[in-house]
């Protein structure tokens, strides 16, 4: 696989990859599969109509990983990709998906990834998704991910989703349905700057007894950027749900946080929290007394907040 320097840089940003990873992977570069590896337990197949890939993880697969990074480095490329993940009963795997767009041209580049996860009984999944944009062209870098998660009894999923830099416009939609004793943890990290806009919508349905979800978003809106966080946790059975949106607002940023709860059972224990505020003056002063400039102090506070 021959990669340009820009493509290598993007892969490092979105997948922490500095070389070809161990285990199963599928590299999609500028609209086509560039490279793929499967293992005895993890199979990756292209859909017959070419619209994406199906990833099958055998029941009982332990400590294996799947990397499916996407790189767009040509200006003006627009694509919608459908990837389905079938995670077999009792499997324990890490899935790293990430998308980076480098746009030096004048046309918009856009990647809309639709990821569906079918997590079977007792399976555990750690899903890491990073989005990154670079390039100094006039064309926008647009990412609209759709994530659907269907969790069977006793399964567990942790999702880390980060978009820290360079994406001009994003509309994220995540829905999850949890059956008996399934648990879902979501940690979203988002930073917008310039004139960027970000919308993140979650709908988590706790369908059966013992289901548990914890959806936490931390975000920073700088310059003239706009963000909206809209998370709803719905409980249909005795279950526990928590959603939290914690944001730092700077400059002329705009943040709209709409956490909501929907209880359809008397024993659904649901909590939401939301807080938006600027960096506290005393935090800046404390770090300045430790020798940082105001600007350095601000960066440390943001880096820590989004870590």
């Amino acid at each position: 696989m021959a990669l340009t320097e820009i493509q290598k840089k993007i892969l490092a940003e979105v997948a922490d990859l500095h070389k070809v990873p161990v285990g199963a992977y599928n590299f999609r570069i500028n609209g086509a599969t560039e490279s793929r590896n499967t293992t005895a337990n993890i199979d990756i197949r292209s859909k017959a109509d070419g619209s994406g890939i199906d990833i099958h993880i055998m029941p009982g697969t332990k400590n294996e990983s799947v990397h499916i990074p996407v790189v767009l480095s040509e200006s003006g490329l627009k694509e919608t990709v459908y990837n389905n993940f079938y995670i077999g009963e009792g499997a324990d795997v890490t899935i790293v998906a990430g998308c980076g767009i480098d746009n030096c041209g004048n046309q918009d580049s856009q990647h809309d990834g639709v990821h569906r996860f079918y997590v079977e009984k007792g399976a555990k999944v750690r899903y890491v998704e990073k989005h990154y944009g670079s390039g100094d062209g006039e064309g926008k870098r647009i990412l609209n991910p759709v994530t659907e998660v269907y969790m069977e009894e006793g399964s567990h999923m942790e999702m880390e989703m980060a978009q820290i830099k360079g994406v001009d416009s994003t509309e994220r939609s995540t829905i999850a349905e949890l059956k008996k004793d399934a648990s879902l943890v979501v940690r979203e990290r988002l930073m917008t700057h310039g004139h960027q806009s970000a919308l993140s919508v979650y709908k988590v349905s706790l369908l059966e007894e013992g289901a548990n979800a914890d959806v936490v978003s931390r975000s920073v809106a700088r310059d003239d950027s706009k963000q909206k966080f809209d998370a709803c946790v719905a409980g249909f059975a005795p279950c526990k749900g928590h959603t939290e949106c914690d944001s730092i607002i700077m400059d002329n940023g705009t943040i709209l946080a709409v956490p909501s709860l929907e209880a359809r059972h008397v024993d659904a224990a649901l909590v939401h929290e939301a807080a938006i505020g600027k960096i506290a003056g005393e935090q800046l002063i404390k770090l300045m007394t430790l020798g940082l400039t105001e600007h350095e102090a601000e960066e440390e506070i943001i880096n820590g907040f989004l870590a």
Binding site: D246, E282, I285, L290, G291, T293, E300, G304, F305
Partner: protein, 243 residues
Amino acid sequence: MLELKNITFSVSLEDGKTKDIIRNLSLTVPDRTFTVITGPNGSGKTTLAKLIAGIEKPTEGRILLDGEDITDLGITERAKAGIGFAFQAPVRFKGIKVYDLLRIASGKPITPSAACEYLSEVGLCARDYINREANASLSGGEMKRIEIATVLARQSRLSVFDEPEAGIDLWSFQNLIRVFRSMREKINDSSMIIISHQERILEIADEIAVLAGGTIDSYGKRDDILPTLVGTESAQDACTRLK
């Protein structure tokens, strides 16, 4: 050596008048000394500490550190010039770890074991704390000791501690006294100013300055000043503060 020369700090009131919080105050803090500044509530102690750290600027007067005029330096420059400052109410951060604060304080990349040294000095088991976030999950006493550890990590020429005993329980207070005794023993070429009206802290002092109405009421060796303070608001015993 820190010299405060004819410092006045005034604030504007709502009715348009001004009020002097600090009034024509002069004080010299020699090297290698542990100086406690005491005085009743409202006497201007915290304001004085903030003036030294550069968080507030004096309306009049000059501040000199080792002969160099630092009056016009901001907070960052004063920190770099060698002034450390421990807050009365330690600031908490979401996401910033105790290790990060010690790394920032030391001004260079430090190994976790070096960071642990500072925590051990303030009586915290480093392993339990180094990777904790300095957030609301830590108690007041824990934050206080971490605050002191960050000031130790700066290895400043002059460290100012603003009411280290405020907001902590009696058990933590006893430990804090031990920490300050140990710091007094290791003072070497640096010097320390503690803002406090705790008798137990005054007992450690080399020099005591008593502040009243925004200016120095008396100043001298501990053995000369402390007897005049016992039983007053400027030298409270450990239980008084709990009332």
